[in-house]
Amino acid sequence: MSAMPTSCREIEPHLLASAMGEATPDAVERVRTHVAGCPECREELTRYRAVDGMVDSLRRAPGPDDDATLARAQLTSRLADLRSRMVTFGVFPSPLGPLLIGRSEMGVALVQYLPASGSLTARVRRLLGDEAVEDRAATEGLRAELIEYIEGRRARLAWPLDPRRMRSDFQRRVLEATAALPYGAVTSYAGIAARIGAPSSFRSVAQALRWNPLPIVIPCHRVIGGSGDLVGYAGKRVELKQRLLAVEGVHARPAGDRDFKVHREAMYTLMNGEVEYCLPTCGSLAEHPLSDLTLFGTRERAEAAGFGPCSSCRPDLHPLPA
C-alpha cells in the first residue's frame, strides 16, 4: 500500500465517498476517470461497493432481539412515576415580594414567599425535591390569577390542589377547615380547633398552619389570635397578613411593636351555626370568645358568603361606621 501512487492516494477518500453514494458529482467524475485507467482502484471501488451493500443489508435485516415492546412498557410505567414526582415551578415578583408557585400533575403543590435574596436552587430542591423544573410558562396562568387575588380583583382561586405536602391527617383537617372560611372573614386558632372537633388543640392548629404549603390559596391569614392580634405569618412577616386581610376588607390596626389587631367592635359578627350576621353589640355576642364567632369586615362580604342581616339588631339599618 505504501507504494500506492500519489494519484491513487488522493483519490482514495473520494472512492470511499463514491462507493457510499455520498460523493459530490464532481468527485464521482474524478473517481470514474481515475478507475478507468487504474485496475487496482477499480477493484477497490468494487470491494467498497460490496461492503456498502453488505452494510446496507445489515441495516435492513431485523435483529434477533429487535422487540422493543417490553422496554416500551417499562418506559411507560417509569415515565408515569417520574411525572407523578415532577413539579414545575415559577418564581415571580408580587406586591407581597417574590413568590414561588409549584404545580404537579395533580394540581398546585406549593406557594411560597421567598426571601429577597439567597440561593433559590437550594431552597427549591429542599421544598420540591430533585424533580423540580422551572417553567414560567406552565405557571403563568396561576401567577396571573394569584396577582389578581392579591390585588383584590379576584375573590376565589378555584385551583386543583396537590395534597401530598400535607404533613398529617390532622394538618389536612386544619387546612380544609381554614379553606372553608369565607373571603373577608376571620376567626381564631381556637375557632379552627373547634371546627375540627378538637377544641383544646389550638396550639397544634397554629403549628399546622405555620407549615401551610399553600398560603394565600388556603387562607391561613384569616386565622388570628383569640384577642384579635394577628400573631404571626410567614415567619415574622405579619405585615403580609395585615395586607391580605385589608384587601378583603378586614382592617387590622397597629398594636404594639410589630403586630396588628382586629378590633371586634368594628366587625360584623356571626355566631357559628347561625345564618344571620349581627352587630358586635347584639345580645350577648360580646361575651363569647372569638372561637365561637366568625367576623366580617363588611356587610357585603357577610352577604356574599350567604348570610343575612340579623332581624333584631338590624345591621342593614344601622351599619358600623366605615
Binding site: V51, L58, A71, L75, M86, P160, R172, L175
Partner: protein, 194 residues
Amino acid sequence: METGLFSQPGGTGVSMGRVMAEDAFEAVVGAHHAEIRRYLLRVTARPSDADDLSQETFLRAFRAYRALPPGANVRAWLFTIATNLGRNHFRAQSRRRRAYAAVALEAPTGAPDRTDGRVLADEARVRVEQVIGGLPEKQRLAFIMRKMHELDYAEIGTSLCCSEESARAHVFQALRKIRKGLDGQLSAGTEPRS
C-alpha cells in the same frame, strides 16, 4: 364541603392540561423509542442494556423536553443522549465490553449449507458485525449512526462532541477497517490476489 378541597378533579379555574406537555412527549416516545433502542442494541450488543439505556434516554429527555426550543431536531437530540449514555455505560464496563462485542448480535443456527449462496452472504455479514464490534468506540458509534440510522455528519458530530469533518473521518476509517477485515471474502475471483 371540606372533603372536596384536595379532590376536585380538574378544578374550574386554571387548565392543568399543559402541565407536563404529556401528549407531545408521548408522541416523541411513539416516534423514536423503537429506533433508539435498536441503535443502543447495535451499540451495546446486549438486549438488556439496550432496554435499560433506551428507557434512561427517554427519562432524561422527558426531564429536559420542556427546555427544548420549538422546531429542534428531536431525533438527533435523542441520539445524542443515547450516545452519551452508551459511552458512559462503556466507561463503566470497559473491561467487559470486548467480550460482549466479540459475540455481537450473531445468530447463526444449525449447520450452514455450503451450497446456498445466501449462507455465504450471511457469513460475510456476521464478519462485518464482528469487525464493527471491534472498532474503536468513536468510529463504531459514528459508523452505526451514519450507516445504520442515516444521520448526517453534523448530527453525528454533535452526538460525539466533535466536528462534522471528524465525524466523517471516523466513518471512513471504520469503512476502511471493515473492508480490510473482509479481505478474501469480497469479490472472490474478480482479480488475482498479489
